[in-house]
Subunit: 375 residues, 2 copies
């Protein structure tokens, strides 16, 4: 019995953009999609009900963080992550690998797995492909990710060459360790910024066979155009009938560029983290809510936005809340930014459906430039 | 034309408890009432829509804080505090006096007014009865409070004796300075813990004549039974046909005790501040959400509570959010605690209506003791 199912509905005639959907036991997700990040069991500042109002179809949970706190055994005691956090729509969990390689300074990497110290209390923890799948099984996510080695940027080609072999071996072991038939498992293509290695990695991972394919190790410091180029190159080696997920990406511009290059799924802390730093996305570019200019402004953040924040509060009030350090500022900003991202991918889907994606993308990018970083 | 109107509906036969309501241009408020505190234009962590869902009928804004930030002129530019914060129900503003006397270390007090330094940037600010009314007029609250001198506890009787004269003089000047016919103005009775001075102060303030009367300078360090005794004593000197407001009080127990002693209105930061510190109110006493005991608990905070938090989340999840430092924890805790306070005064009103307040109060106090501070 196959539970996870991806349906490719339409391919754009002018680009590699595509629309489709996938089914999970927690419902359907339309692609292209943006997944808000709920690191430790909460998309920061918002409730699951607000997420639904915003239109979120799927959220992301972080295996590393949830394993450390409260512990995946605890989450499992409550019936899994959905029940624990009271979110009944799909959840994707990462493998923990990215956090281990980026948050942990001391780590000991072998073929078997990686030993690292918790960033919370310093205790030693061992993560292997089998362990990652065990944790993700305890969490009960709809989509699990394989454990991979995330190499930094820049990275010597010889190192990346060896690394993709480890990533492929680990991917295979993850697939073998998978227990629950209803949990989908995505493979991850690595290879840094080296096209030939990306090709090899893609072929290795596709050969093993997964429910979907992710591009890992991008947006880690390389130039944007390199990221676009590698994405464009790599998607050609991924099967059309599986969703493609560009991990940890990115800006609204990145999403438009990479949908064009054949990507279906995105996640990023940018909308939520920027919101907490007072940086808001609008149709005309980015807006710093703390700016003196908004002191007397009766305007909403974005006159074209119909989010709760824009329908109810002025820039002047939001500026005041932010400068006074009020928690409500962080909430209202987060609602707006998430709504912006979720609406963007919805508009993208409509544009592809209506056969006008290239035009839509061009116009959007032009609009974003009007205000630049200072609407 | 009289806009503000208090109607005393029923007096309890066994105590001084009473039910009634008052009308403002922003609607009716039933008494006894609890007013959540929205210091700088936000009841911390919650939206105005959530406040309505919780059942809040009136909130409090702090004149001192709003004068400093964003400035009452700015608030006025937006059409007053109601429009600025998007709350269309009644608002009460204090005079700023309490904050000046409690937050400011250096102050220069004369008959004319008080000069103090801003706790934000240290600049010198002058507050007089006329200035306080001007600020509150700019804020456009439904109920303004007169500027009074708040003496500390303990305080020499000779000082308090002189102080109530200043308070009476300032009260008179506040009344004379009042501009907007639709804003009610409440007088404040001071006198520390000295009954004879409370009597004199009450008579002086009532003689001037206000829309309502507050008891100030209580719950500032004195024993609970002293506070109850002074409250019991003082309400006898206040007219029955005006609402009585016990400023800055208090615990759920305090509210029950002081409703019994003839008080109609309460405000306190306790439910909101405690929430942010993880201390939650329940039918069976207080609960520390961070306790290890709740790690695996599937129970809501309070099985008898129908707030959003209790209907949707377990103690185990709330404990996790709190320990992980998630902002959502502060929100969910605040919703619960405010709901507890708002429900308590609603139950109190019903008990008085049904002629069983004494019995209700006795049973509530017994219940609170079951769990003590550790349900």
């Amino acid at each position: 019995m196959v539970v996870f199912k991806f349906v490719l509905e339409k391919k754009d005639s002018e680009s590699k953009a595509r629309i489709g959907y996938f089914e999970t036991i927690h419902g359907r997700v339309e692609t292209p999609i943006f997944m808000p990040v709920g690191t430790v069991g909460s998309v920061k500042t918002v409730t699951p009900h607000e997420l639904k109002e915003i239109g979120a179809q799927i959220i992301l949970g972080n295996t590393y963080h949830l394993h450390l706190r409260p512990g995946d055994d605890i989450v499992n005691h409550f019936g899994g992550l959905h029940k624990f956090i009271n979110w009944d729509k799909p959840i994707l969990t990462d493998s923990g690998g990215f956090q281990v390689f980026s948050l942990s300074e001391l780590k000991d990497l072998t073929e078997d797995g990686v030993t690292f110290r918790s960033h919370l209390d310093g205790r030693k923890i061992f993560l292997s492909p089998e362990k990652s799948i065990e944790i993700q099984s305890n969490l009960g996510s709809d989509i699990m990710m394989v454990l991979d080695e995330c190499v930094p940027y820049p990275c010597e080609k010889s190192y990346v060459e060896r690394s993709i072999e480890l990533t492929a071996m680990w991917a295979k072991r993850c697939k073998e360790a998978k227990r629950n038939f209803w949990q989908a498992l995505f493979g991850i293509v690595q290879g840094g910024v080296y096209k030939d290695l990306r090709k090899i990695s893609a072929e290795q991972i596709v050969e093993i066979g997964f429910d979907g394919y992710a591009l890992g190790g991008l947006s880690v410091g390389e130039e944007n155009n390199i990221m676009y180029e590698i994405t464009e190159f790599t998607t050609d080696y991924l099967p059309e009938d599986r969703p493609r997920y560009l991990m940890g990406v990115g800006t609204p511009e990145d999403i438009l560029e990479c949908v064009e290059r054949g990507v279906d799924m995105f996640d990023c802390v940018m909308p939520t983290r920027n919101a907490r730093n007072g940086l808001l996305f609008t149709s005309y570019g980015k807006l710093h809510i703390k700016r003196q200019d908004w002191k007397m402004s009766d305007d909403p953040i974005d006159p074209h936005c119909d989010c709760y924040t824009c329908k109810n509060f002025s820039r002047g009030y939001l500026r005041h809340l932010y400068k006074a350090g009020e928690i409500l500022a962080l909430r209202l900003n987060t609602i707006h930014n998430l709504h912006f991202y979720i609406s963007l991918v919805k508009e993208i889907r409509n544009a592809i459906k209506n056969g006008c994606f290239k035009k839509f993308k061009r116009e959007k990018l032009e609009m974003f430039k009007i205000g630049g970083d200072n609407v």
